[in-house]
Symmetry: none
Subunit: 224 residues, 4 copies
């Protein structure tokens, strides 16, 4: 005969799991998966080493469950439904907002992403599969839909490949973010993100070549 209701018990167990995962994420972020020790994680969670194993079968399981419980909110906001833009200006505003959100999220979760990228390549295939579902995180599919709409509506080039463009666009900032925030952890150029982000969006939308000249080039058929 249980002294606490099953519901209360489940809630309590869930809380403990969260508490452990949070500690694990902290430690993993600080030292990497292989260098973090279970004892350390337990201490960080305010438990004894053995207690961890009442909630997770192994150290690897800790890693596998971190995103599911911890990154879920991040993923959620990233994928929340966005109103389709009706013009190039609206598109620009939307892209700016998305880019700013991306920057903010990466910077906030830089430490976690560090673990993420470190551990991923060497996890067991099963664990990797679990992680994989998190990867489209960078929102390529959302972008693709938006670009496709823009082309149909005529405010984006009709010869733009939305599949490819949706995959190269995020990288403009993401790679920079990865290097600066996740890998090196130090500022690489003397600009803030509120300068970098608009510039990236402007390049994406209008290109590096001056409009007049570009128009001329296109008119004479020299541009591909």
């Amino acid at each position: 005969m249980p002294r606490v209701s099953p519901a209360a018990k489940a809630r309590l167990e869930g809380a403990r799991r969260m508490q452990i995962l949070a500690a694990a994420a902290r430690i993993f972020a600080r030292k990497g998966f292989d260098r973090a020790t279970v004892t350390e994680i337990a201490r960080a969670a305010g438990l004894a080493e053995g207690s961890i194993y009442n909630y997770f079968r192994s150290k690897e399981e800790l890693l596998v469950h971190i995103p599911r419980q911890l990154a879920q909110p991040v993923l959620a906001t990233l994928l929340e439904p966005t109103p389709m833009p009706a013009s190039a200006e609206e598109m620009k505003a939307l892209l700016l907002r998305m880019a700013e959100a991306m920057v903010e999220r990466v910077r906030t979760h830089a430490k976690f992403l560090k673990v993420f990228f470190s551990a991923l390549p060497y996890l067991s295939p099963a664990a990797r599969e679990t992680y994989m579902q998190l990867l489209p995180v960078y929102g390529a599919s959302v972008l693709e839909r938006i670009l496709r709409d823009g082309i149909r509506a005529g405010y984006l080039r009709e010869d733009l490949n939305p599949v490819i463009a949706a995959r190269v666009l995020p990288g403009m900032l993401m790679f920079f973010l990865m290097v600066q925030e996740v890998l090196t952890g130090r500022r690489m150029i003397p600009y803030d993100y509120d300068e970098i982000v608009p510039e990236a969006v402007r390049v994406f939308l209008y290109g590096a070549v001056p409009r007049r000249r570009a128009a001329r080039l296109r008119a004479t058929g020299k541009v591909g």
Copy 2:
């Protein structure tokens, strides 16, 4: 009395070091830094474990020295002097060549990059510093110079920020490459790089917005 001349000896020692580093890179790539064992590396190099320590002080030193000796050639070709483009078309051709080279190099060294990204965040500060010099590998500084020239020559927008643009441009492909080639190892969209690369370059140079419309928008002062 030395049997071999000091020079010959140095050469021999250099060769041995290269041989060990090559083996280490292979093993690190396959299993990650922490999971690779010194014994394994020694065997792969055709030596006994103990012998490694005649050439490197520790396992970490192996990692630290890999880029310097191994990535040097990669870096070299990337940075080899390129004739400055004199027009947008030449610029486009140059960017295409650079992008293709980048794709080829990342794909060739995917396994090594895997280690690189895995190990980097958790290395000792000293080791990290060593690595750092490799990071501009993606050629940002070269690009920056090229863009600056283009602006000065007038075939790139005069309000383009060459510092930022040089950092966001490589990411367009690099992030995609990282995810597809290094992290997941599986194709993510049904396009080959000979379609992806030109599209990325085209977007960078001419933007996603149609030229005519863009020109008009810019003329009415609503853009930028």
Copy 3:
């Protein structure tokens, strides 16, 4: 005020103890003393781990109490009184019956005997003493009496040593049984026990040497 009478309470407690010991015996039999876990035993007994400790002080106590409560019945049937045989034929029939009973019992309790032999040598002296009383299980003393009677009645060799014979006879089958049923758990020769048992008894009674030849040898005084 007790809700139940002390007597009822004692009965209940006794039942619980039996229930736990039965579960322990099952698990010990399956995995051996050291590899069985208290949790496992508790689950098999339909209790939680902690509850075990309300009835037994430790895991070893479980083992110590198993024979007393559980092996008692086994032992009892094994030692039940047998009518003395009056002739060699009756003796043969009796030995056959005893042997068959032994085979049946060993096979039935193979799992229990497995624990028995595994744990015995390493128990605390006290625990071992408890077990020891089970050892004459193989009924040597009963046999000895029967053989002694047979010699006195003249249908067994007068120079037969009943003490020794009573100890070597059971082994003919027991050792085979131990190896085949308890230790390896697989059939070792292509004969069933209904062929093996009579053959063993026949050898015991009439020997391996042909009667005529034996008679001759004995007559010439060469045997002995």
Copy 4:
């Protein structure tokens, strides 16, 4: 280039293995497989814990290899080519010699056998398989051949089943030995083995029933 000849190295390694196995056998014998610790075994062998693993892959492997290297001599002498007996007398002499050897060996290795029987039932199937090959140690197959020859030569009953007889004969002494020497470690009857062994052989060869009477019984068809 090895400093020591491969032969010398192999010899040295073999010696170390023996040294470790001897220590393992001692410790296993004292505490049983599960309660013995690798550290303990290492200390007993005069090594550090880790060193054990330079010679054996796991603790279980230690157990598995003990018989092979330790019981090898025992087995060897047991299986050494024996001249086939040409008469019942020679057969008797041979059986006596074999039985005496068996007694001597069991008594010498009583402690090891204790471990052997304790651990066997719970080993991994693979390990058990390895052991299995040792089990016919008690010489059943050798005996079987000898009995078969005896039957063919006519000095053993032609209706004797050599397969069964070869399996029940060793048990006559082995079971007694197991109980007295291995399990309880104390003398159970007031006879020495130099009385027990001949009596067992005599019973096996000539049976418990007096020859004359047996002959008569067989003649009247009441036996067998």
